[in-house]
Symmetry: C2
Subunit: 192 residues, 2 copies
Amino acid sequence: MQARPKNRKQQIVDLALELLQTHGFENFSYRDLAGQLGITKASIHHHFPKKADLGVALCQAIQEWHEREFARTRSFSGSAQEKLDLYVRGTLKFACGDTKICPLSSLQADIASLPEAMRPALKRLDDHELDFIAELLDAGRESGEFKFSGSARDQAILFVLTCKGALQYSRVHGSEVFDAAMAQMKAQLLGQ
Amino acid sequence: MQARPKNRKQQIVDLALELLQTHGFENFSYRDLAGQLGITKASIHHHFPKKADLGVALCQAIQEWHEREFARTRSFSGSAQEKLDLYVRGTLKFACGDTKICPLSSLQADIASLPEAMRPALKRLDDHELDFIAELLDAGRESGEFKFSGSARDQAILFVLTCKGALQYSRVHGSEVFDAAMAQMKAQLLGQ
DNA sequence: GTCTATACAGCGATAGAC
DNA sequence: GTCTATCGCTGTATAGAC
């Protein structure tokens, strides 16, 4: 209900991101966006001529979100375990609540129906996140906080896909599932 | 290219299941099914008047698949670890290959857009699978093969969502990801 | 930057002939 | 059980006025 929205383009991306996390990229339309923003479909097309353009903008928004959160987590002064917790609860769980899934999980699930231009972007986003988590896990093992075998990269894959899977499961089965899975994984990471 | 297909209905369900695993329930159409089966849309509607009917049939097909595979795994004479391996590789990975995801993961991702009638069915399917895995894990802990803390149910949640997440990740990033994640999880389950 | 108007393909769905 | 034909709606997309 703003008379003059500061940045319509950003507003559209924000709403599209939410619909991506709840319904998936192919399951929301320009009509949905227009309706909820109180403008017409043609206005959305003015900002993003093709839906693939909006899709690329979504990937960029996710990357900026990553960079913000990675920087915040890195600069947080605490143990490796606390940093990992900050990312899981303060970033992933915070961005999803009880009704949304991780935007990257949503894109992965629909990969075969996605516009061509979005696929390499998705792969880069996943890799970027894995690098970051591997860095945290490696530091935690160096400091003796974490116990795991194999490479930090492999453990990061396991860690990240478990978090994402837990978010997806908990949307259907209740958020206790998320807490249970995270507690279970944490215990193993700490060697208990 | 069969002149007189024995069971068209089954044929439709089989193809729909494959499209569910690759594109998602809302991302395949009666047109896709008709085209690939060499008949018309109207013929599909004869077997499944509404798409929700097809959705319910898909859930039933998944349940029958579960019951078959659970029985096969239970009757397999081997250690708990070998049974778990049989389910992961002989059932889940076998049914998905390198290009498909678990049908239940697909339905979970699109839960918000799904026909009403499919949601309770999905929850039951997930629970059924968790019961089965919890049973295997519990037996394995009793026999001293597995080491984990907390309830077998909680560990089953962690185990299953990790398998599903690994299948989804590996479709985008290559099947080495699946092997790495499974090896990593197995090591933790065995207390190594 | 937003609108009206329109185009056109695809969707799920139905009626009725064979 | 399959077909042709058709319906109304929704999807993305474009042209052009304000």
